[in-house]
Structures are given as C-alpha cells and as structure tokens.
Amino acid sequence: MIRINLLPADLRRGNRLPPRVLAAAFGAALAVSAAVGWFGLVYFGDLAAAEDQLQSVEAKLSQRQPKVKYHDDLETNRKDYSQRVQTIQEIGNSRRVWSKFLDELIDVVNNNGDTERHLAWLDSVTVKGDPKKGAKVTIPGNVQDADKSRLANFHEDIEAAAFFADVSLKTDPQWTLEYDATRIPPAFLKFPLELQFNPSAAPKK
C-alpha cells in the first residue's frame, strides 16, 4: 500500500520547525525586546530627563546672569573705591602737624619762665621729612651758664614733652663750653640735638 502525504510541504512533520527552535526563537525575541526596551528606557527616559534638568538649571543660571554681573560690577566699584579711600586716609595720616610740635618745643625751651632749671635757646630748627624712616629734627642749641645739670634738665624736659612720645631716637647730651663776653653770664654750653621721629602712616605704592 502506498501512502501519499497530501499535506503542504511546510506542514509535513518532517519539514515542520521543531519546538526547540521555536522556543529558542521565542526566547531570543523576548531577550532582544527586553534589551532594546531597556536601552529605550535609558536613552529616551533617563537621558532625556537629565537633559531637561540641565536645560532647566541653565535657564535658572542665565536668568541670574544680569544680577551676577551687577554684583560683579558693584564688587569692582567697591574694591576701587576702597583702595582710593585707603590711599586718601594714608595720605592724611602721613602728615605731621609741625605747628603743634613747634608750639610744644617753644614751651619746653621757655620752661614757663623758670630760668633756674635751664635757660636755653636754639641755633636753628631743621626738619627733614622721610616717609620711610620718619622725620629728623635737628635743633642745635645752647643753655646759659656752665652748669651741666642745666643741660641735663633741658634734655629731661625734651623727653617729657608731648611730642617725644613719637620720637624713636634722641642724641645723648653732649656739649662744649663757650663764652660770649657781651652777655651776662658769658659762659654757655653749646649742644647738638637731633630727634628722629617714628615714620607716619605713609601712602602705599
């Protein structure tokens, strides 16, 4: 007996896809779908969300830019003004009021008219300003009589004067005995005297 299989070729048992192939194909399709889906989620989800967030932050920042620039300009102005103000203050503070010094020096030399303690007079007054080292005052002078204690008294009075608080260096007492026959008494002690003042707050370069 002859059996004739009349089923189409692809339905014939011998030509049908085996279930294992089908299962594998199905599994492969599933895995590929899952992988592509995951990629899609990450690419179109997370990345897009991040880019949106970035845009939002950039928008915030650009919105603040004019005010930031305003701040920066103000800060530049502040620094510039502060520097100028500081310079003016330094210029102002660098000045020493010499009329005050001279008044005080005159008081010391006059000594309230007390001629017993000392009777002094100066040969000259010279002030040489130096912003770095401080002003140097040169006041060579004389005290009446040959009594050296009067010269010491004069030095003591110089040291007690208000201006001396700002003096960093003073020459020590030294003298030469001299005579002037046209004066009473003729003897007097001639002395050199230099005062080195502390530097004032000089303007910075």
């Binding site: 896809l17 103000v85 003016i88």
Partner: protein, 473 residues
C-alpha cells in the same frame, strides 16, 4: 535556510539575539555615560546657580557699601586740590602772608618723580622761602596746616637772622630765614572702574545718610590751633642780658623780677580774699566789706598792670608775667563776674539776724564816734536793707536806716564850716553865740537846716536836720 539543520538554526537565533542584546547593553552603557556627563553639568550649573544666588544675596549690602564709599570718596577727595585750585593756592599763600606778616622771597615747584604717583593721586611739591619772626612763621605754618585742602609740610628750616642786609627786627621780634617744603596731591577721578548705576540711588543715599556721615569720620586730617605768643620768648634768640656797652636801656632783670614778684604776691592775697569771701566762713558784713576791698584792690592792680607790664623786657620774666599775673588776674575777674548760681541770692534782703547785728553794730559805731565806719558798714549792704513794709524785718531795717541817717547827718554836720568864736550865756534870757562872725541867739536859724538850740559855756547845741548835735568850744 530550509535546509539548515536544527542545530544551525538554533545557533543562528541565539547568536543573533545575543548580538542584539549586546548592542542594546552597549547602547545603555553609552547612554549612561551621557547621563553622567549631563549630571555633572547639572551639578556644575547648580553650583553656579548657588554661587549666583549667594552673590545676589550680597547685593543689598554691596550696594550699601558702594553708596557709602562713593559718597565718602566724593567728600574725601574734596580735601585734595584740583588743578584749578593749585593756581588758587598761590592766592591763598598770599593771603596767609598778609595775615601773618611774613615776607616771601620765592615759591618754586619741585619736580616729583613719576614713581611717586599713586594711582589716581599725583603728588605736587612746592618750596616756599621767606623771612619772618618766629611767631609769624609759626602762624603761617599753622594756617597752611589748617587749610581746607590737604597740604603737608614735609621739610622746613628756621635759621636766625634775615637775609643779608635785610631787616633785623620786625614788630620788636628778631627776623629769621624760613624755608618750607609743602606737599599736596591732586586727584584724577577718571581711570578707575566705571561707576555702576544703582537703582533708586538718591533714596538709598538718604536712607544711609547717618552711616555715610559716621564713616566719613574715619578720615580726619589732624588740625591744630596755634595758641599764640602767650608771653613766650623767641627760642632762636639768646635771652641773656647784654653786658657792658651793649646793655640796653630799661630795668635790670632783678628789677623786672621784683615787679613780677610784687604782682604775684598781691594776686595771691586777692585770690585768698576771694576764696575767703566765697567760703561762707565770713559773716555777711565781712563778706561785703571784703568784697568791696577786693574790688578796690583789683581796680588798683588793673590800673597799674599795663604800665608795669610794658616795662618788662626780659623774656623769662615776660612769660611768667603772662602765666602768673595776666592769666590768674583774668581768672579772678571771671570768678568775680561769674558768681555760682547757688550763691546768687534768692532773698534780696538781709536775714533778720544779720539785720539785728547791723543795727547793733551801727549803734555801737555811732555811739563810739566811728561815724565813717558806720556809714561804710551801711553802704556795703544798703541795697539789702530796703525791706518792704509788710516784711517782718521792716522794723529792724528802719532802725538800721535811722542809724545811717544819724551817722550821715552827724558827718555832714561835722563837715559844716562852723567857727564858734564866743558865747554869751544868759541865765534868765536867751543866750547867744558868735558864729562865723555873726551872733545867733538860741532859737535862731543859722541856715535852713541848722538851728541854734542851746548855748552853754563850753558847748553849743544845734538842731541839724532834726537831730540834736553838740559842738564844743
């Protein structure tokens, strides 16, 4: 493909799926990298936003600082001259010269090294030569230092003696040669950062007015008011007495000291007197007597002080004169003029006890013949005896005034020119008196105010202004 074996088919499917899955995983990995990059950018931008927010938060304070600094700077730079004012400064120096009496001999502009320029501030230096007395030079320096624009005297020298062949004395003081170096700065506003426009600037400035003023105090250019000569001597002149042929006319130093000491002693006494008057230890009458004496002695001293002061020429004595006589005398006068408020009298009249004492003293003075003292005693408190009628002290005041009238009348009577030249005493009739060459009988008027009341052998009784008084032969 239909010929493929099952195994080949399975491998192809699995292989294809594997490749696709791997590609997807690679894509995820790559995307994750992009996400990380974006996240990093976000973090950076967020930091920038945070920094921007922090800056924005600082804007109000910064605006405040800038407004204050800008306003202060505008004020500060006013202390520095601009180029136009430098020319004006020459006129100012000329004005100072006239005010002080110095004589300038030159003004030179010193070259300033470019390195000394400080940003917007350019230094300018002048050297000013002059002849001046010490006091003129000191006043000139002081005027410059107190000038509204900042000028610093950096160097100066004062050397005794004027220029060769020039004057030796000016206003009685020695002339010296003076050289000053003055420095100032000019301010160039341009060159700094562009000024930012702050919204509502005027309103903000008004709000910050107090703070602007407070910060303005941070820059304070030291100024000093020169106290003047005050009797001090020129420290560049030898104060010793000239001897021999060079001796100057006038009092010796010893004589000048004697005058000074005399006034110092008198002043001490006056000061003690005033202290005693004000102490409250003296009785009311003592106070008034002392007060009167004090004023009289003060007036005497004031009258003599000018002449005696002019005779003093020795510097140390002149200074002591200024410090120990003129100054304390002014103080005494001020103390006299400015009586403390608590000492000012609330009650314009003498207290009852003092009035009673006054009456008693006046009575004692009058009865003791001390009429002048009685009058002085009353006159010292005359204003305070004018007690009104309703006051309980009125009777005492009337008694005091009565004694005063008696004393005054008696004194006036004493002063009358009454020369008693003889008397005729009549026991049974009217007696008579030879007065100033005329005979007056008892009951006769010598003048409108003077009546002969009774004539006795040794004395004649008169009625003068209602008061019976006796004049002895």
């Amino acid at each position: 493909m239909s010929n493929w074996s099952q195994k080949k088919l399975l491998m192809t499917i699995c292989g294809g799926a594997g490749v696709l899955c791997a590609a997807a995983a690679g894509g995820v990995y790559y995307t994750q990298g992009l996400i990380d990059e974006v996240a990093a950018q976000i973090a950076t931008q967020e930091q920038a936003v945070a920094a921007a927010d922090a800056k924005i938060a600082k804007i109000p304070n910064l605006e405040k600082d800038v407004i204050i600094l800008r306003e202060n700077l505008d004020e500060y730079v006013k202390i520095l001259p601009d180029n136009k004012e430098l020319t004006e400064f020459t006129r100012t120096l000329n004005k100072f010269e006239r005010q002080t009496g110095i004589l300038s001999t030159g003004l030179t502009n010193k070259n300033v090294r470019p390195g000394k320029t400080k940003g917007n501030f350019t230094p300018i230096e002048f050297t000013y030569d002059m002849t001046a007395t010490l006091w003129q030079a000191l006043k000139f320096i002081n005027l410059i230092e107190n000038y509204e624009r900042f000028v610093s005297i950096t160097d100066f020298s004062i050397v005794p003696g004027g220029q060769r062949g020039g004057e030796q004395q000016r206003d009685g003081d020695a002339v010296h040669t003076v050289k000053l170096t003055m420095q100032t700065y000019t301010y160039n506003k341009a060159g700094g950062a562009k000024e930012v426009t702050i919204p509502h600037y005027a309103d903000r400035k008004e709000e910050l007015r107090e703070e602007i003023w407070n910060r303005m105090q941070a820059i304070r250019i030291d100024r000093y008011e020169h106290k003047g000569v005050q009797g001090r001597r020129d420290i560049l002149v030898d104060p010793r007495e000239r001897g021999g042929d060079l001796r100057l006319d006038g009092l010796s130093q010893a004589d000048q000291r004697a005058i000074l000491d005399k006034y110092v002693d008198e002043l001490k006494q006056l000061a003690e007197m005033l202290k005693h008057i004000r102490s409250g230890e003296a009785t009311m009458f003592e106070q008034y007597t002392l007060d009167k004496r004090f004023r009289a002695e003060l007036a005497t001293m004031l009258a003599g002080i000018e002449g005696d002061g002019a005779r003093l020429s020795y510097g140390p004595v002149k200074l002591r004169w200024a410090n120990e006589v003129i100054g304390p005398l002014d103080q005494l006068q001020q103390q006299l003029d400015n009586q403390p408020v608590d000492e000012q009298r609330q009650d314009p009249y003498l207290p009852a006890a003092d009035l009673a004492q006054l009456v008693s003293d006046l009575e004692s003075d009058c009865n003791g013949g001390m009429l002048e003292q009685a009058r002085e005693r009353f006159e010292a408190v005359a204003e305070r005896v004018q007690v009104p009628t309703g006051d309980e002290r009125y009777d005492l005041a009337v008694q005091a005034r009565s004694w005063m009238v008696k004393a005054t009348t008696a004194l006036d009577f004493k002063g009358l020119d009454l020369r008693l030249q003889g008397v005729i005493v009549n026991e049974i009739g009217r007696s008579g008196v030879l007065l100033n060459g005329e005979v007056f009988e008892e009951g006769d008027f010598v003048s409108d105010e003077l009546l002969v009341k009774a004539v006795e052998e040794e004395q004649v009784w008169f009625v003068f202004r209602g008061l019976t008084l006796v004049r002895t032969m």
